[in-house]
Symmetry: C2
């Protein structure tokens, strides 16, 4: 049995999803010869540290009852540097202004010789290359499947499963909220404002939905794809972005009559990065409805490979994080 | 630069696709630090062996002009056993009667300490477990991405990219010929016989199409999935199979009026293996047209992940073989 210690930095929906997935999959992991031990959990108010392994069930219950995991006020960065463990799961919220506290946490982990698995887009849309090089310089791994597409394993698919291929371009629908709004507008012929209200009531859209509907979230994900697949060092400011706020039910109806749907499509090729509403033929692989995410990858040998699935959700995001953790265990 | 020697056993469409892909991707491979050297090629008439590396361009030209690669009558199995190399690419035709010559070639490779990458379904639908154990006993790898779904990396996706998940069930459309026929019948409202003739003229269907239209090819692929994902030891005789020969344009039209399409769907869960025509909602992820293949994987954490792409073609199949070769190089 190989025992691997990890910390969970950030204990919101994603961090809790990771913890509960490790809990429910304990036997599955042991069957594969792995014992995952969570030695530290940290949220914005404080942290719990236990080198023998935290009782995850209790930790989740306490977070739920008290609103925090805090047993001490030990800082996340000190935990990352000082507590003995192999993998840092960085699950603090995305901040695209300055990338903090994600950037400091990741650099701190790399410089302490720890692998990083993350769902946090901020650091990757601001300083991708620097982070990648810091990981390489320290001989550790940097995995970020959960930053794009939720449960859909876009990076692993391209880097591992399609490794014989050169990627020519990628198109995708990478934001579930806007996909839900456009799908409902088209199917119910309802105006943007009413569908948005519905989405907010269902918890699919945020109270301030601008990050999604103006295309910023999509742009961030596209930047991470471009940097990872095409070796670029783009930031989200390099993307041409148009949101969905000006789309009318009439436009969607006209599209539908001609066998098209309108989707907020992300496109990356060498040298161009675009997020914009686009007409997609109803039978095209990108034409997926509801809150689904999809990526269509154009390659030299395999042709077009399209993958779709749930783009959000704490357990779905935990799926990507757990697969990244297993990759590190198997390859380190 | 890491130099890896391989043999290509079977030099039909797939074998030639592998050779020409290695040729066109030489620089791409060298950039990654790999030098792939083809030291032997064998077809049904004989073989060429060159420990320094065969000139692939010339070999392809000779095969094209003379109909064979044969420079000597050295047998495939002797090459596998006696020529020094690391990876055997087994690309002889699928034979589901007794699995030969594939089974002997693969066992010969494993017992000689060589990894096997294959597109040949026969051995895997007859004696999967025995082959898997022979590989394990000899400490070598057995990779078969190309046996199912052509360019679509189903096994790599599940075993690597979704490794944190337990697979609950799989549904798929794994035969491009029948998918083409059903798509055309539905769209053009033409009877089975006429569409079949068209498909034969286009080279999409064989002169004797029974292997495809009776669902045998789909059943074979389903068996490989079940064995690989659920650890079963099924053979294609364990599958409940119904083909598409009795489907009428009227049935397809009725389905379409109710927003359904009819597809030849493969289904694997623990304990059941079925291939049969099924009503699929038009908006369902399985509803892909033309000759496309698709697999929809239901998992515990990620939910439903669906992947589609080209299910056949020599270059597309070579994509899967090349990705398997790179996996072996990186992990051995």
């Amino acid at each position: 049995m190989k025992t691997i210690s990890l910390s969970i930095i950030g204990f919101g929906a994603v961090g809790q999803g990771v913890a509960s997935s490790i809990l429910t999959k304990q036997n599955y992991l042991k069957e594969q010869g792995f014992n995952l031990r969570v030695v530290a959990i940290s949220d914005s108010k404080g942290s719990e540290v236990n080198p023998e392994g935290i009782d995850i069930e209790r930790a989740l219950k306490r977070k739920n009852q008290e609103g925090t995991i805090a047993k001490s006020n030990q800082k996340a960065l000190d935990i990352i540097r000082e507590v003995e463990h192999e993998i840092v799961v960085e699950a603090t919220p995305t901040n695209i202004k300055d990338g903090e506290p994600g950037i400091s946490n990741m650099l701190g982990a790399f410089n302490s010789g720890r692998h990083v698995v993350t769902s946090n887009k901020g650091p990757l849309v601001l300083r991708f290359l620097e982070l990648k090089e810091a990981a390489e310089d320290n001989g550790v791994m940097f995995r970020y499947e959960a930053t794009v597409g939720g449960a859909v394993p876009i990076f692993n698919l391209i880097h591992e499963a399609l490794s014989g291929n050169t990627v020519i371009g990628i198109e995708g629908i990478l934001n579930g909220t806007t996909n839900y709004i456009l799908t409902r507008m088209a199917e119910e012929r309802m105006p943007y404002e009413i569908v948005m209200k519905e989405a907010q009531e269902l918890g699919i859209a945020e109270t301030d939905p601008s990050y999604d509907v103006e295309g910023i979230d999509s742009a961030c994900k596209l930047v991470i794809i471009a940097n990872s697949i095409f070796g670029q060092n783009a930031t989200y400011r390099d993307v041409n972005v148009t949101g969905i706020t000006k789309i009318t039910p009439e436009a969607l109806e006209l599209a539908s009559k001609n066998n098209y749907v309108v989707k907020l499509v992300c496109e990356a090729g060498k040298g161009h990065l675009t997020v914009a509403p686009r007409l997609v033929p109803k039978r095209h692989p990108l034409s997926v409805g509801g809150t689904l995410n999809v990526a269509s990858i154009l390659t030299d040998l395999a042709g077009r490979i399209t993958i779709s699935g749930k783009g959000a959700g704490s357990v779905e995001t935990a799926s990507s994080i757990l697969s990244d953790i297993l990759y590190i265990i198997k390859n380190s």
